[in-house]
Symmetry: C2
Subunit: 229 residues, 2 copies
């Protein structure tokens, strides 16, 4: 999975690129892709919404990626050390989705994707890449929904997620069948069944949702969204 290679641009003895990108393939890239950038502690590599059509290889040092929520609370989504390649979740929308900050003096190589896309990629390739990138983003989103959140937030966010997905695929946004059991929801959200059941009951009491067998009705979407945020 890893391939130590000699870097002909940097002072470093070698650069370790994990998970597939071997020397000969790196060589196909633009020369500028291999120029190392030096970041000092607390320097920002990229920030959310910044247009980004590159990956970065961590040649030395370490960085952390994090989001900042509406209340200004930081949530770290990943740490990256020497040999990691970062920025994959931004491929699907062409812009960074997290902050990426150096935790110490670090060297990163920028790997520009536009060259790759223009020269080598077929339509299927590009879209498959976007698909995988999108999934990484989804996994991050789910992680953010489970770490450092209350039971009520997790359940509200889970329901909103289903609602959004179904709406995007042509189904009703406010009335749908829950195909999974409470036990499964609890397990997925890192909660006990009883807790999920209590949150459902509480949401029903507040007239935010209602259920009839496995059919779920969202009665107050705005309030639910508020809770989920």
């Amino acid at each position: 999975m890893r391939n130590p290679i000699q870097c002909n641009q940097c002072s470093m003895q070698s650069i370790c690129v994990p998970a597939g990108l071997v020397s000969s393939e790196i060589d196909k890239l633009d020369k500028s892709s291999r120029e190392p950038h030096v970041y000092s502690k607390r320097d920002m590599v990229y920030s959310p919404d910044q247009p980004l059509n590159s990956l970065f290889a961590v040649k030395s040092g370490s960085v952390k990626c994090y989001t900042i929520d509406s209340e200004g609370k930081q949530q770290i989504t990943s740490f990256h050390l020497t040999g990691d390649i970062i920025g994959m979740e931004s491929i699907s929308n062409g812009a960074a989705v997290t902050y990426c900050e150096a935790m110490e003096t670090s060297m990163l190589c920028e790997i520009k994707l536009n060259r790759l896309f223009a020269q080598n990629f077929t339509g299927v390739d590009k879209n498959l890449l976007r698909l995988l990138s999108h999934r990484i983003g989804q996994r991050n989103t789910h992680y953010l929904n489970v770490v450092n959140t209350t039971a009520e937030q997790r359940v509200a966010s889970f329901i909103m997620g289903l609602s959004d997905h179904l709406y995007e695929h042509g189904f009703s946004r406010h009335e749908f069948k829950l195909p999974m059991t409470r036990t499964d929801i609890a397990n997925y959200l890192g909660l006990a069944v009883e807790t999920v059941s209590r949150v459902f009951s509480s949401l029903k009491q507040k007239d935010i949702i209602d259920t009839k067998q496995s059919i779920l009705f969202i009665q107050a979407p705005a309030e639910l969204k508020q809770m989920a945020s």
Copy 2:
């Protein structure tokens, strides 16, 4: 991100493929790729370690993906509804990494990757895909480490993760610098700083690890691994 397309193989009116795979590209695929498979409730779509060089598009119904740990405890990693494409985390090693089970009667299309790889993909493409697939797997692993685990397990697993990564990149397995603060570790693992500090102290007392400034020594790797599992 989504593209409703007509399916010329199935009885379904349309199939919604999200995140990039549009009609014309699906058409490039092998005909067999478009044949729908029907799964009944509780049928298994795939199981861990089963050789897998396909993705699956959920045309109707719903599935859940889960792992089973050494103590036999099930942990759900994702739910998938109509329009989702699944199996992306298995690209990097050619075998399934989770169980995938139908939650109700469902139709899935298998999208075989070997055809794509043979015909269209360059080396860079393939390896980039593997890289992204591998990252999805890593995100799943981190999620599994944070959901339904104790503070001690999370910290032990976090340290083992760093240790493994550094060893794979030619550094010492048992003695390395922690580049991040306790506060950052806590935030990343969904714990309070004080809790992380207490776990570190407890591990030191048990002579499993030791620290000197930001240098960490793993004194009993076996015990640490045991805790992390």
